[in-house]
Amino acid sequence: MNWGFLILEIFAFGIFLYSIVLFAFYVFIGVFSIGETRKYIHQNRVTDYRRIASSLHAPSVSIIAPAYNEGLTIVDNVRSLLSIYYYNLEVIIVNDGSKDNSLQKLIDAYQLEKIDFFIPDQIPTKEVRGVYKSRNPVLRKVVVVDKVNGGKADALNVGVNIASNDYIICIDVDCVLEQDAILKMVKPFMEATTQRVIASGGVIRIANSSLVEHGSLVKVKLPKDYLPRMQTLEYIRAFLLGRMAWSRLNGLLLISGAFGAFDKEIVIKCGGYNRNTVGEDMELVVRMRRYMEERKEPYKVTYIPDPLCWTEAPASYKVLGRQRNRWIRGTYETLKFHKVMFFNPRYRLLGMVSYPYWFFFELLAPVIEFLGFIAFLVMVFAGLVDWELFFALFAVVIGFNYLYSVFAVYMEVKTYNQYRRRTDIAKLLLTSLSEPFNFHPFVVWSSIRGLVDILRNQHSWGDMAREGFDKKKS
């Protein structure tokens, strides 16, 4: 028996099988997401959000926005949050020990004064240096907290401790929210009757090249640069297809840290955000779900397909690489913390489908792709490649990739149609052609580097330099 041949054969067949299952999942996700999005759009056709927005009886909501060295944009960011259309709102800005003049800028711009504030220590955090509120009654919604630097999770936990309302919405301070974002995020919590909604996510869209004025999105434009444009397509696929399908299954494991709403009581009972991971957003959702599963309480994690939050995507390979490196480390850490759920029927869908999916197709995918590529190179040099079969398989893989992207663009056009010009859609579709040869290998490589960092015990967050949104020319 030729052992080398046998090993290679098993490896190749393993990858083949893996790809079949992955494709099957993608087909399922694509088809399954349609119903959920359609249902959402139909039910919204007769929903009058204005009625609830001004209601005194609407549930009160606290927005928590951690900020670290955001001095350049912090005043505009807070103004953007204050312009949101919702009556019972509290906006908590947590200055996480910024080294720049963020705090002073906020004090000056919003006439803040330091106040005596008793903070119930429900979740342990680093020391809070002070709590500030505005002297101007019009700005009574604003609470600024200054604390010793402890990372994003620690800053969010301080916000949770301070929040006076039942629902919290955690966002990145530089995100631009749509005017009705809070209303739409609160709705799933209020609509639940048989299952408690413990968390809800909203779609994040890429705002590079879009016009932003005074913290509000004035005009949506397709990003001019390649990387943000590629991420636009990636986000459409991930949010409009992936998360909607998982939401319908009630198997969502991730709500983006840039924009997520939570039931504060469950967050506190779970101990808040975990400070020992760079994937604190995913880890919290998994822990909250695990908490509910272990108590056998009916619950749901929902997602809404409306484009409610706009953010700036990395425009350079360096920053994108750091981001993807961090994402894979966050995924690894989260799955490691909750490994007890892996194929554990006690956790039902969460343990039998969601967790294994993330393990095999999110965490291991870059490893398998990378090993597959190495094996391919070895086979090329050994002259073992059946080129005819290779090109046939390659055509299937590339064809499926393009089909999935085109389907995502079709769903976008059919539903929210944010990029209305035909040329924009053409650009988006053309961008997808280069994905398998440029963007995707880079993302895989960044993930591999992230996994290597795990082996080297690296835990840094990585600097996420921003270029700033386009501003309307006066």
């Binding site: 139909h42 056709r45 007769v46 504030f117 008793f118 709705k187 919590f189 149609n417």
Partner: protein, 364 residues
Amino acid sequence: MILSLLSIFDFFKPGFFYATAAVFAVLIVLLLVLIYWNLYERKAAFFQPQSFRVEFELWVSKWILEDLQDTDTIRVPLKFAKHLKRPNNRQFALDGLIELKKSVAGAVGDKVVALYLELGFKEDSLKKLNSVVWHQKVKGINELSVMQQEDMNARIFKLTNNRNKYIRREAQSAMFNFYGFKGLRFLNVLTHAISDWQQLNLIEQLRPLDPEPIPGLSGWLHSDNDTVVIFALRLAEIYQCFEVHADVVHCLAHANEAVRSQAAKTLKEIADDSTADILCKQYTVETVRNQVVLLNSLAVIAGDAQQPFLTKELDNENAFLKLGAARVIATCCSNGWAILGAKAREQPSPFQKIYNHLRFELKK
């Protein structure tokens, strides 16, 4: 030699994979056609019949501003007849009238309804109402409701307990639109849950109406449907229905935590001399979540009689409850600040902070 061994992949012929890739390619082309067809349709809908859209809106605006007595003689320009045969244009015109009706009232609103009937849109709405597709049905109910087609109330009333929550929700709103407080009669027969979102919607729909006695309120407070009880409690809170005080107190013993929580909130608004003591008694058997609600209610209705109970609660382990109890003492007890000051001297941490916090909060 290696190549001469049989591989699993020998079972797969390249032709099979090429055929699969070809299927993908066909699907891609199909989707591309659909994408661009969609974009073309949207553009066409926006630009080509713009003359109809703009002119129709203009005509409607002019017409409703004309002599308000002239509702009997609606002369729809002939040029619109052709356009209104197209379903898209009909729906556009209908949606326009619906939006207009929502923003106007009185005689102008009547004129909009008259136009709705004259253009035969009621038949369109009825077609939707008869549809088996849930979202069509919902749209139909919505249109008939906004256009005040009360003659449809019997059919719509039957849908207030429909198993589809969206149909149910719209039908309930329609009953409110038709009959105001009297439309609440669907609560007598409702077996499905009524969500917080829907409750708030209904409450906001009621807001413009003059308050009036709510028939059946006492009965709903004893309903088997917990969400009906909560809604009734909310109504009793907002409209300060003192006559159901005893029923609300009864709800404090309800098995559902949310019902008890709402009962505590309602009692704050319809309190009598005995209420504060009742809430204090309830406090000892409540969940922490509801204890916070009870303290919030006590902050409005407590007095010196509750001071011993509240002082004891300052030693509660839960920091939120400590703060809540201190807030009630500060606001409701005649020597409240003195009590808190003494406690702060006796036990500076955390009571000095609580004292300072409340000083700032309550001076506002």
